[in-house]
Symmetry: C2
Subunit: 499 residues, 2 copies
């Protein structure tokens, strides 16, 4: 057969197998996090390793390579083009790095992860430092292999997670954040503290579960195509648009923790349940990117989920379940408490306002690691300085400082900024949405489904068949613009604190 | 490379991949039965189909074929020989049947299964009959492809499920059963009926769960290497000896249902948890056969689980949980009720004594289907006649008659006898065990672990590295002998009914 004879259809068996293995691996991961017995993991993970390798080789092999080099792009549909783009990206990543180095790196990150766990537990950065040093060296080396003329090393890493978002744009974003949000935070800290003590009374777990299910149903999470389970760290997973699962963790003495995490994960889940049927089970059948996914989860969690309008139809049900704890708390008090700002040490527990400052610390350190050859030993001190400067708090030890996040141990340098981008995307989308929908009124009337329908129409249905930048531009009519986010934060928190 | 250079090690990547896919498929099946949302199945099963095909081709392909044809068996370990035997069996099965016919058959059974569901629901054998006819024709044709000189067609089918067990042996077994058990049943039906009405009061499901977990722990089910979930039909599954899962179904108005099914599934699970580490995740890392597996589950459920000695240390806990329902019921009354005999229509609800008579009906009909060309349309009438003759009951319709079981629709003709063999294996093993262990005393003293240790030593640890016949001979010192089973039943039920 002449090479030119290949059509996209010839790829189908490879893509099907790739997706089937993906599904299997996801289900096994899900099972491991939510159900598997204590001693199973060692044995099951051996099988997982074999399947992952098999999945990789399904796409990266001489037959597929020959096909994708010969395709006549003119003949492809938009979705096929998007799929092809994904495959080519995988090839670029895989071909740039010599197999031997990739193996070394995989072993390194696997060990680094274990060492990080130990270091965090024992509060000892020094045992972790040599591994982090090696991880950084590998990441720089690998980035060097695919370096393009106009990109710096850290740009290459950033683009691995969020296509076309580089330092130039992020520098501007974080500079504005620094300029506007740090002074705002200082003002808030002078203002009267919000009372949220009623969140931390005794809340029966079964009743919490009932309410979380109620809220997920209200948000439009389709239980015929998904479920809620429990796990140590909440997450969302999906194997196609008809099976999307979220987890929550319940605390007896913390009411908002499970609620906000359910709303957050439902944001992810609505995205995945909203992908069009034709796209699901293809390489572009999932959310467009980390940042776009976070934009949806954070839109629901923060912009919607901490608003008075959202809670107006829901709060009576919550009070009904917990009359002793909330009977004397008004809707306004409840929502105000949900928006309490308190600069603190741990990113994952941060409030809406300070969250991006935590990301900023990490962004600045990553830049220094990759672009400025900073010594790894200096990182803890730098971390602490930045926390003191931006957030006004000082870790007492590295476990609540630089050792708090798993990401770097796994080689994920360049990932954190997508959390911040997610927030900014959400605010930009919200700004446009408000021109078309009376969001406040819809929420007060319990019509959240119309908001979700809007997001489904403009974002969810496309999965990853369009790039985040493209989705944003088509919906908002302009390029990425972080100003909306900063403006949103200022307006909201000035109002919450009566500044 | 010269062919002769192949060593068993060259097979490893193929076997690893095969087992990894097996694990993935089992986990996906498990998830589907215990957790998956309503609409997921259609999408997930597409992926399952791809993985199953991939798994099949991992073993059945030219490279593996070349290897296994060239192995020098002298050089292989016992386990390797057992693995090789399994692979060769797969080849025989797969090579005997033309690919086109196999595809047709797969499609047929998939449709026949759906039609069976419909027919059962609508109580209409006539819509199912043409499919069953085709299934039978295919099974006969396929059996013909691998026919050996000394075997009849139905022998070939029987051997698919239970190696080396043929009609000759089974005819003798069922003849004795007929001769001894049917008269015994008639006598029992003249005796005073046992009162078991207290089983069907209101039993709180949460308390039932607590007791079922308690009983599983007592039996030695290792919760670090397994778990209990719920599903419509109870079953056991395992992906290696460190992850073995059982399901139970709870009924508010039926106390023994969940308890006996937990004991039964724990019997399967103890077998799988007891397989040696070196064997797990190999082709011979699971129980030796259906019948051997059933021998373990039925040993625990019937021989042990319905005995007074077993319940002596456990019953007080059950009474403590349900004082209103059981406070006035003595241990003896409770155990007697567990052994109530009542000939009835449905196999899966049958008591210990009549169970094998249900199997006998199916065995005789299967023989007629395969060896005597009986018309499919005559089967319902024959079914009903046999039930009347052996069990003294008459189905009012085909749903509670010939349509009750799924097996034939899926092509499983020749499978039922392994249930009966399982019972017979159990009794033969028990007969030997009693010579070495004071089973009654051990149970009364709560030392069930010593009984399980005995089975682990003689059966469980070997997985499928030995054939059932071999295990039986090594343990009991003699060939398969169904007399022990018949004798056990007679002694037990004559005593229960004071005959």
């Amino acid at each position: 057969m002449a090479n030119k004879d290949y059509t996209f259809k010839d790829l189908t068996p490879y893509l099907d197998k790739y997706m089937a293995l993906q599904t299997a691996i996801s289900i096994m991961d899900w099972d491991d996090s939510t159900a598997a017995p204590e001693e199973a993991s060692e044995y099951t993970s051996k099988m997982l390793g074999i399947l992952s390798q098999e999945q990789f080789m399904t796409l990266i092999n001489p037959q597929v390579k020959e096909m994708i080099e010969q395709f006549d792009e003119e003949q492809l549909s938009l979705t096929e083009k998007a799929v092809l783009k994904r495959i080519r990206k995988e090839y670029e990543k895989s071909e740039a790095i010599p197999a031997k180095e990739k193996r070394e790196y995989t072993e390194l990150t696997s060990r680094a992860f274990n060492i990080w766990q130990k270091a965090k537990k024992e509060n000892d950065f020094s045992v972790y430092a040599p591994y982090l040093k090696k991880v950084i060296a590998f990441r720089k080396k690998f980035a060097g292999y695919s370096q393009k003329e106009d990109a710096k090393l850290y740009d290459i890493l950033l683009e691995e997670y969020e296509e076309s978002f580089r330092m130039k744009e992020l520098d501007r974003f974080f500079a504005k954040l620094k300029e506007e949000i740090i002074p705002l935070l200082k003002k808030i800290e002078q203002a009267e503290e919000i009372d949220d003590s009623f969140f931390y009374l005794d809340y029966d777990i079964e009743k919490q579960k009932e309410f979380n299910r109620y809220i997920a149903e209200y948000m439009g999470f389709d239980f015929k195509r998904g479920l809620i389970a429990e796990s140590e760290h909440p997450f969302t997973t999906n194997w196609h648009n008809h099976d999307v699962r979220i987890t929550t963790r319940y605390y007896k003495d913390n009411l908002p923790s499970a609620i906000l995490s359910t709303i957050h994960e439902c944001g992810h889940a609505l995205y995945e349940q909203g992908v069009r049927d034709e796209l699901t089970q293809t390489l572009v059948g999932e959310g467009a990117s980390c940042a776009m996914h976070e934009s949806q989860s954070r839109f629901y969690e923060n912009i919607i989920g901490r608003s008075e309008a959202f809670w107006e139809p829901l709060y009576p049900k919550l009070v009904e379940l917990f009359p002793e704890q909330l009977g004397n708390i008004s809707l306004q008090q409840f929502v105000r408490a949900l928006n309490k700002v308190k600069a603190d040490l741990i990113r994952t527990e941060a409030d809406e306002l300070t969250y991006c400052l935590h990301i900023m610390v990490r962004y600045e350190l990553e830049k220094q690691m990759i672009e400025e050859n900073i010594a790894v030993d200096e990182l803890p001190e730098l971390w602490n300085q930045k926390y003191a400067e931006y957030l006004g708090v000082s870790p007492e030890n590295d476990s609540e400082g630089i050792l708090q996040d798993v990401h770097w141990s796994m080689g994920d340098i360049g990932y954190f900024p997508s959390y911040a981008l997610g927030n900014a995307f959400a605010a930009q989308i919200y700004n446009t949405m408000k021109k078309e929908l009376d969001v406040d009124k819809l929420l007060r009337e319990g019509r959240i489904s119309e908001i979700t329908a809007y997001l489904r129409k403009h974002i969810h249905q496309y999965g990853a068949s369009k790039e985040p930048r493209e989705l944003l531009k088509e919906l908002t009519g302009e390029e990425f613009n972080p100003d909306y986010y900063i403006q949103y934060l200022k307006e909201k928190f000035e109002q919450v604190y009566g500044l």
